[in-house]
């Protein structure tokens, strides 16, 4: 078989397929389905300093070839994650990327410091682009200076590789990307969801209690692909592609556009084995074309 490993900075992944934050729980819900350690890695549900209940219902709704979610970053908190989830992930040999979220630079740092104390965290992904919370979230990811500030602070607080997750809602995404690179990010992940809305015309109510929700799924793919192309052509650090990826074909599109790896999100819902299938499909494509996975990166003509 053709080599499937890809490098994200110092970190070597078994293959270029990870699962996206918020779409794969804590990676412990899959024992019935497949061996999660076969994946390039998993990104955890966004972890905050303290546990969060999340938004009231309804939190999700379907849209054409996509969905909206306003989970509101419901999570067990970084402490419970380290104590209850991480040991089990470690035991299973899963490559764990801890996706973290905070509403202040200080809290981002505190979470990173907490994770730094643990074995078995491969990288930290900064969610500076969550559209579903009132404070923090997207504001950090829209402004190059603020994104850089968070990146720099977390870099200084941990030896772990730091990935920054880009918001598609930044006016100038390339500027945000460059600022994060300069601030020391080891990789950029793109993209988080775009805010969307849905209404019921009979009740005349908004469908989501949070009013807006993050738009994800296949519908989003062409926009995500364009952003990944733009970012990958503007920075020297690796870019990880996300957005509507559900098949090897989709994943290869992102790699050809410049992504060093990809994340599978919404596609896990309809098929818990989606990421595994994507990884197998990329390997088959590589075989057919006599290429290693890393040869695909930016190979569009």
């Amino acid at each position: 078989m053709r080599a499937q490993t890809v490098r994200i900075g110092e970190l070597m992944l078994k293959n270029p397929v990870l699962t996206a934050s918020g779409c794969f729980g804590y990676g412990l819900e899959y024992d019935d389905f497949f061996d999660v350690s076969e994946l390039g890695g998993i990104c955890t549900k966004g972890l905050s300093l303290h546990p969060r209940l999340g938004n009231p219902p309804e939190r999700i709704c379907e849209t054409p070839a996509g969905m909206l979610n306003a989970i509101g970053l419901a999570n067990v908190g970084v402490e419970a994650f380290c104590r209850e989830k991480l040991p089990m992930l470690r035991e299973r040999g899963v490559t764990v990327v801890a996706n973290i979220f905070a509403s202040s630079v200080e809290d981002f740092v505190t979470i990173a410091e907490r994770l730094e104390k643990e074995q078995g965290v491969a990288a930290i992904e900064l969610n500076v682009s969550c559209p579903n919370v009132t404070h923090g979230g997207i504001e950090f990811g829209r402004d190059p200076r603020m994104a850089a500030q968070v990146t720099r602070a977390v870099r200084a607080a941990t030896h772990l590789p730091v990935w920054v997750k880009m918001s598609p809602e930044a006016g100038d995404i390339v500027a945000v990307a460059k600022a994060c690179e300069e601030a020391g990010a080891h990789a950029l992940t793109a993209i988080n969801t775009i805010r969307g809305m849905a209404l019921d015309i009979e009740t005349r109510k908004l469908r989501l209690a949070n009013r807006t929700g993050g738009f994800s799924g296949p519908a989003l793919r062409p926009v995500a692909l364009r952003i990944v192309w733009d970012v990958a052509h503007a920075v020297a650090i690796p870019v990880i592609g996300i957005g509507g990826i559900g098949s090897a074909r989709d994943a290869i599109e992102f790699m050809l556009a410049g992504a060093s790896a990809v994340q599978v999100g919404t596609a896990n819902f309809a098929d818990p084995c989606a990421a595994q299938k994507v990884a197998l499909g990329i390997a088959a494509y590589c075989e057919r074309h006599g290429l290693n996975a890393s040869d695909l990166i930016g190979a569009a003509r």
Partner: protein
């Protein structure tokens, strides 16, 4: 989220199964039966995420459906609502479907000392029929109360009446008691019974209220929108009386009705038929 998850979980699988047959019951209801080589070990109250394997990118999400029967010919009872159920109702035998299941927490095991009362509203009858069958297999005969808008909204009522005593109520009086099915309940409640209910939120809220007042154990099967059905998206919160959330797909769908904050669980515009909506 300290809630424990049910233990039949170890059998969850995503299978692609051909439709074996589709039977319509009036205009709005269909029973879909699938053909499985391996027996699906679902318990009454569990559900399955159903999606046409050929649907492509839209509709995107699988639809949660209660098992009507399990085994090698698992079946579901669907009510036509929006695009997903309309496509299901158009499917011909042989069409492949993706079925992810069995999922969720089944009905709590009946207490042999109490007579089970099943309170069903419309399509909510599906998991209760499955329960009634399981009870019958153990020689128990439930009392079923079954309500709908009209006689047309009582699909599979004959199955229920074969399995035990059945009382029906329709809002338009076209069959049985004229009025709400919950009006039949108060006089039946007492220390010797326990209640299982599935139907519209408002109906279940009323059942829960009546049971709580008489200290009768009551288990409700909840409908919330779901993206994954297996605990990872956190899209299916059910507000609890202690201000927390349970997740319907893993902590439910069958939940002790006293744990639920019924005042906060009727937000959903989803619960309105989309077919009506799309007329315009």
């Amino acid at each position: 989220m300290p809630e424990q998850v049910n233990d039949t979980i170890a059998t969850r699988r995503l299978l692609t199964l051909p439709l074996l047959r589709r039977e319509s019951i009036g205009e709005s209801y269909h029973v879909l039966t699938f053909d499985s080589k391996e027996a699906i070990l679902a318990e009454p109250g569990q559900f399955v995420m159903v999606r046409g394997a050929e649907w492509g990118d839209a509709p995107l999400l699988p639809r949660p459906m209660s098992y009507l029967t399990a085994g090698t010919t698992p079946s579901i009872l669907i009510k036509l609502l929006g695009e997903g159920t309309v496509r299901m109702a158009r499917a011909e035998p042989g069409e492949p479907f993706s079925l992810l299941g069995p999922l969720g927490r089944p009905w709590r095991a009946p207490n042999a000392a109490r007579r089970p009362i099943l309170v069903a509203g419309g399509v909510g009858v599906a998991p209760l029929i499955f329960l009634a069958r399981a009870l019958a297999a153990r020689g128990l005969s439930p009392l079923s109360l079954y309500g709908g808008r009209s006689a047309r909204d009582l699909p599979l009522d004959d199955v229920l009446s074969d399995l035990g005593e059945l009382q029906v109520a329709t809002e338009d009086g076209s069959r049985g008691h004229k009025g709400r099915v919950t009006e039949l309940l108060p006089e039946l409640l007492g220390s010797g019974v326990e209640v299982y209910t599935c139907g519209p939120d408002r109906m279940m809220a009323r059942v829960a209220e009546l049971c709580a007042a008489r200290d009768v154990p009551c288990e409700a099967s909840l409908e919330t929108p779901m993206a994954c059905g297996y605990g990872v998206c956190l899209g299916c919160p059910v507000p609890t009386s202690d201000g927390q959330y349970l997740y319907a797909c893993v902590h439910g769908p069958c939940i002790d009705s006293r744990r639920i904050d019924w005042t906060r669980s009727d937000h959903a515009p989803h619960r309105l038929p989309t077919l009506a909506r799309s007329e315009s």
